[in-house]
């Protein structure tokens, strides 16, 4: 596939990224999400990627439901004690961030290697542009 087509794939996935993503994840993770989608489509083709994305959709719902099931339990527990707190929110954030960290550092450490490289490059670019400005 030509470089131009890959660039088009990158911009396609950049435009479909959820608006909340850059407020939750680092720039390196968002970049990796875009690059990963484009390279999977390049490797598998659009049709086969759709099949893989169906699995993503199912697993996405399973993970969300497991986390939310526990968070609702936490909320009920505290509401029954007459104490409405933000513990459900807190448990959701902790479980979600801890699980994401587990996936990229322990389950698939190569993901973390790539993300770290992207983060370092971004840092170097920022340092370079700051140096030029100074």
């Amino acid at each position: 596939m030509a470089e131009k087509e890959f660039e088009e794939l990158l911009s396609k996935y950049e435009s479909t990224m959820p608006a909340i993503a850059p407020r939750v994840f680092s720039r390196a993770v968002c970049t990796y999400h875009i690059v990963l989608n484009a390279s999977v489509e390049q490797r598998l083709g659009a049709e086969k990627k759709k099949v893989a994305d169906k699995v993503v959709q199912d697993k996405r719902n399973e993970i969300r439901n497991h986390i939310m099931h526990r968070c609702r339990d936490v909320e009920k527990h505290f509401e029954n004690r007459g104490n409405k707190t933000i513990q459900g929110h807190y448990a959701a954030l902790i479980m979600a961030t801890l699980f994401f960290t587990y996936v990229v550092t322990e389950k698939y450490p190569k993901l973390f290697e790539v993300i770290s490289t992207l983060a370092k490059r971004a840092q170097q670019r920022t340092a370079g542009s700051e140096g030029r400005e100074a």
Binding site: A52, I63, M68, H89
Partner: protein, 140 residues
């Protein structure tokens, strides 16, 4: 790393790693410390710090650790099982990435709003800082 990170690292690792030597525990903690800033935005760190502070005031740090943080890390056993067999790195990464955005936008939209507010505040602070620097440069 955020203030939240230190609580999470201590409790999460204790639960996740079980019987590990002090040496490897330290190494693993280092992985999480390094990972945190590379994986998540400053807005999320700020939000978690604010929530930790609020809950610590409400229920005390000991209860907070016991009631929520420790249990939350124990509960990850089930989501972990969902990505155990026949799942590629692409599927696991994407599923987790989107599950988090779903939770923020659909389950707890007030958290998405809080992140937006924090972002605005951070931008204001950055603008103020830049203005100060420019004025300093002008006067020197």
């Amino acid at each position: 790393m955020s203030q939240f990170g230190s609580i999470l690292v201590g409790l999460g690792l204790r639960t996740l790693m079980g019987k590990m030597s002090e040496e490897s525990r330290k190494r693993e903690i280092q992985v999480y410390v390094e990972a945190w800033d590379k994986l998540f935005s400053p807005q999320v760190s700020a939000l978690l710090n604010m929530m930790t502070e609020t809950l610590t005031k409400q229920i005390g740090s000991v209860s907070l650790e016991w009631d929520v943080v420790k249990k939350a890390s124990e509960w990850l056993t089930i989501p972990k099982a969902t990505i155990r067999f026949g799942i590629t790195d692409y599927t696991a990464f994407e599923a987790t990435f989107y599950a988090i955005t779903d939770i923020m936008t659909q389950e707890y939209p007030d958290m998405a709003q809080a992140l937006e507010d924090i972002e605005k505040k951070l931008m204001d602070l950055l603008a103020e800082e830049t203005k100060k620097k420019l004025e300093e440069l002008k006067s020197s």
